[in-house]
């Protein structure tokens, strides 16, 4: 009587649903998607949105990350660059200028410019006939650096725009499943942050919002910020970043970022939108590395960018500068006798001379500067860039309302994560084969062996289905949980097989025997559930992954797959 009961049907239906839900249908429409977009970049201005699937770039089909980088490499359209200096004229072909200017002096020569013979310290007169007397360096850069027409076809739209090689888009390959890997499998960072004092619910919500905003402004999009509490009643802020970990993460999260610009002891303006209406970023005409110098064996690079002050802050600036005295330096420039001191978290980061012509004036545009130090010039340059980005972020987002301390920080390399993922799959398969082997050795019956496999597989699939539905990320602990759940699943199946084959219980019907097996199963289920419950709260919930997947796994098992298994068993034993 091979009748397929409703329990078996339920299992089949759930498995079909699982297949539909877990499979990422997007992959049928495109293999590469836009993970994030750099603000103000060509891509952002063209209107490309995060999450769009890239199908073609300049007529070339994009089916992998490789295709994407190849397509971009083809864009390398070089232009002839002619640099006239006091030491002669240099010509080279390049997509970028490959040097920076400090006033008119060349800094940071690289690539083709270096090959052409340009050297640091040369004085430039003109580039491609644009004289430095009439144009600023950034303006010339904008005009000279070649741009190409790029056509990007996505699943939503076709975008045509001009851009340099740097489109300003981060892309990623579409996964075939919608299962999200946890941090320890895909790489990333997790920080547990403790505020200086216990926060109210509202304060915490405010803090979460500010931290998230700050990270987003910095250019990190795949961010998860939430509050967690533990058994002892402590509340923490949990920050999770998928993928790579920026070196500055610690600074971005834990530095309060209290920025103050002071003249003497008087504050002119502070970070945040009350005083600052605009911060120049990603635009070399008003935010750039100004100069680099060797100081006492190490290198130092200065950056400067423009900010716009609100009316109130500009007025304060005028009042505070009105009574200062003008001083003339040896170079013939005139400055005020007090400097504009920039403080970050109460530490002086830079002092700026205030030009005499600003005295008492209501100016909204103010330059903010700082520096980066390194062993080599390149290191100093990179540090200066990082510091500039950090300061810009802080000026835009303002300071965090509370002092924070990172008390736990895990950053996992994506490389190691991949290694773990591969390994985990091998381990799970091997464990699976081992279990099957033991069952076969014990019962020597293929009829039993097959439903056991079916239930093991479906239990795993259904656990993953729930994980996808509740947006649960599968991390290493979760995988241990799934394996543990399968372990109990197999245990229960053994109880059922033994009950169904029991000679002692033959006065009972098959139905009765299965019922008896379920008494044992439910008992075991209840004990596992209660023993894992405390993990929800303990240790700031860092072990929830393990608890949740184990519970999901055994719950699915007890209520869906094992009843189905029982029915399959009935069919088999009757035949």
């Amino acid at each position: 009587m091979a009748k397929i009961t409703w329990r078996i049907w339920l299992l089949i239906i759930l498995l079909v649903i699982a297949g539909i839900v877990i499979f990422n249908w997007q992959i049928l429409y495109g293999k590469v998607y836009v993970k994030s977009i750099v603000p103000n970049s060509s891509a952002a201005q063209a209107g490309i949105a995060q999450g769009e699937l890239i199908k073609e770039i300049n007529g070339k089909a994009i089916n992998s990350i490789e295709d994407y980088s190849n397509a971009l490499a083809l864009l390398k359209n070089e232009a002839e660059i002619i640099v006239e200096t006091e030491n002669g004229t240099f010509r080279y072909n390049s997509a970028t200028l490959d040097f920076e200017l400090d006033n008119k002096t060349i800094r940071h020569v690289s690539g083709n410019a270096e090959i052409a013979g340009l050297k640091e310290g040369m004085i430039v007169e003109s580039i491609n006939n644009f004289s430095l007397e009439t144009y600023t360096f950034s303006e010339i850069k904008e005009k000279v650096e070649p741009k190409t027409k790029i056509t990007i076809k996505t699943n939503k739209n076709e975008y045509v725009f001009l851009s340099t090689n740097n489109i300003g888009m981060v892309v990623s390959e579409v996964w075939p499943t919608r299962i999200k890997a946890g941090l320890d499998l895909q790489g990333g960072a997790r920080a547990l942050v403790k505020p200086e004092r216990a926060l109210t619910r509202e304060e915490m919500a405010n803090l979460i919002e500010t931290v998230r905003y700050r990270l987003n402004v910095y250019g990190l999009t795949d961010v998860n910020v939430k509050d967690v509490s533990d058994l002892e009643g402590n509340t923490y802020l949990m920050v999770e970043l998928a993928g790579a970990t920026p070196i500055e993460l610690q600074d971005l999260i834990a530095k309060q970022g209290k920025f103050e610009a002071k003249i003497g002891n008087e504050t002119v303006f502070v970070g945040g939108h009350n005083d600052i209406t605009f911060v120049c970023r990603n635009d070399a005409s008003c935010a750039r590395i100004e100069s680099c110098n060797a100081i006492e064996g190490s290198e130092s690079c200065r950056f400067q960018f423009e900010v716009h002050l609100s009316e109130a802050a500009a007025k304060r600036h005028a009042e505070l500068t009105a009574n200062l005295i003008e001083n003339t330096t040896g170079e013939g420039k005139s400055y005020l006798n007090e400097t504009l001191d920039l403080y970050l978290d109460d530490k002086l980061v830079d002092s700026l001379f205030i030009s005499s012509d600003l005295k008492g004036k209501v100016t909204t545009a103010v330059a903010v500067s700082g520096s980066g130090i390194g062993k080599t010039r390149l290191e100093a340059y990179n540090n200066a860039e990082t510091n500039m980005k950090k300061l810009q972020t802080i000026l835009i987002t303002g300071s965090l309302p509370f002092k924070l301390e990172i008390i736990k920080l895990d950053s996992i390399s994506p490389t190691l994560g991949q290694e773990f993922t591969k390994n985990v799959i091998v381990a799970a398969l091997a464990a699976f084969v081992g279990v099957c082997l033991i069952i076969y050795i014990r019962y020597r019956k293929f009829q039993l062996f097959i439903p056991v496999i079916i239930t093991i597989v479906s239990e795993t699939v259904l656990t993953l289905l729930i994980a996808v539905i509740i947006h649960w990320n599968i991390d290493l602990a979760s995988i241990a949980g799934i394996i543990a759940a399968i372990g109990t699943g197999v245990d229960d199946q053994i109880v059922m097989i033994d009950e169904s084959e029991s000679k002692a219980a033959k006065q009972y019907s098959m139905k009765e025997r299965i019922k008896r097996a379920f008494f044992i199963i439910m008992g075991a289920y209840a004990t596992v559930v209660v023993s894992l419950l405390p993990l929800w709260w303990a240790g700031a919930g860092l072990l929830r992954g393990f608890a949740v997947t184990t519970l999901l796994g055994i719950t699915v098992g007890v209520f869906v797959t094992r009843p189905a298994f029982a029915d399959i068993l009935k069919i088999i034993t009757k035949e």
Partner: protein
């Protein structure tokens, strides 16, 4: 099921005698056959025939055996198990005492009941992704430069190639990183390394919380066991065996020098659930299935089922342990393996013997 027990309890006095008589005959037959049977595991057909025979005789001989009412204990002692189960019990209790002793000793030596790693004491773990490392040389280099250091390799199971090495230390992350960079002569960043930092006070608080979680889980488990059986002494036996199981697993982990992290404690929690399921099954078969064969045969059938249950789980976690290269997984699997091995021991040596003792005291056959 609970109603069943109540009803049984009421009628016990009347029915018990009769029942006992019935099963007694079966028991005598059974014990004679016992040694044979154990040898012939798997030959079920034969067993079925024997059982059928027994049943027929059972009814015929019912009256006959009424006289022997309380002599069945003597009869049972003819079998090996009946002779030796008390010894088995004593062995298991001795092992338990030994486990407690080793933990006490460990405590006096180290000031704690387990060997905690940096996630529970506070410190830094840096995993450097490289195939080229000489651990002995690295250890010599790090000695004196960092606080307490623990170094190990991660290997790819299939190729046996080193994929990374792990440095665990109580030192600060920046110091550790600087010292490692000095040794490796290249900078460490997110593409070639992973860093995990745990603050000391947080780690301590985690440890306390996880111990509390374990205690709570244990109490919850005990409550569930009581609800299932509603019978104090057998429940205490189960709870005792679960406790012995976990304590012995911890002692084993200590003896083998295993360091326990937060994930390891999660594994111990899992063990609480795992360790009682064979005990539950055994107790169900012995106390709630009195009509189905003699006491020894019920224990035996429970043993057959339970052995396979534990063996499959043990196989899965052992295979997982040997193949996994992630510390988290290795640790969870290792602790589960210790616990399952101990479970095998305590369920069938301690719990089965205790139950048998209980049944004999209560005249349940």
């Amino acid at each position: 099921m609970e109603e069943e027990t109540k009803a049984e309890a009421e009628q016990e006095e009347k029915q018990e005698k009769q029942k006992q008589e019935q099963e007694e005959t079966e028991e005598t037959k059974k014990t004679e056959d016992k040694e044979k049977e154990t040898e012939e595991k798997g030959k079920k057909e034969k067993e079925i025939k024997e059982e059928q025979k027994e049943e027929k005789k059972e009814t015929n001989q019912e009256a006959k055996h009424e006289k022997k009412e309380y002599k069945h204990i003597k009869f049972l002692s003819s079998g090996w198990y009946d002779k030796n189960y008390k010894i088995l019990l004593i062995i298991s209790l001795l092992v338990f005492v030994l486990a407690i002793g080793s933990i006490v000793l460990f405590y006096t030596k180290h000031g704690d009941i387990m060997n905690k790693d940096v996630t529970l004491t506070g410190g830094t773990t840096i995993t450097v992704y490289t195939s080229d490392v000489n651990l002995a040389e690295l250890e010599a280099f790090l000695k004196g430069k960092l606080g307490e250091v623990n170094i190990r390799k991660l290997e790819d199971i299939t190729t046996r190639k080193t994929i990374a090495f792990v440095v665990e230390t109580s030192s600060d992350a920046n110091v550790t990183k600087a010292v490692l960079e000095e040794y490796l002569k290249y900078p460490l960043d997110n593409s070639n390394s992973s860093t995990e930092i745990s603050g000391a006070s947080l780690a301590k608080s985690f440890y306390h919380q996880l111990l509390i979680a374990m205690a709570v889980a244990f109490v919850f488990m005990a409550i569930v066991v009581f609800i299932i059986f509603r019978n104090l002494i057998p429940c205490l036996m189960i709870v005792f065996c679960a406790a012995a199981d976990i304590i012995s697993a911890l002692a084993l982990a200590n003896v083998l020098g295993f360091r326990i992290s937060t994930a390891g404690i999660a594994a111990f929690l899992m063990l609480i659930g795992y360790s009682v399921d064979t005990d539950t099954m055994l107790t169900t078969k012995v106390l709630k299935r009195r009509g189905e064969g003699a006491l020894n045969s019920r224990i035996k059938s429970a043993f057959k089922t339970g052995l396979i249950m534990t063996l499959t789980s043990l196989a899965a976690v052992l295979i997982g342990y040997f193949i996994a290269n992630s510390d988290v997984l290795k640790e969870i699997f290792f602790i589960l393996a210790c616990g399952l091995a101990m479970d095998l021991f305590y369920t069938w040596l301690a719990n089965a013997s205790l139950l048998k003792l209980y049944c004999e005291k209560k005249k349940i056959s």
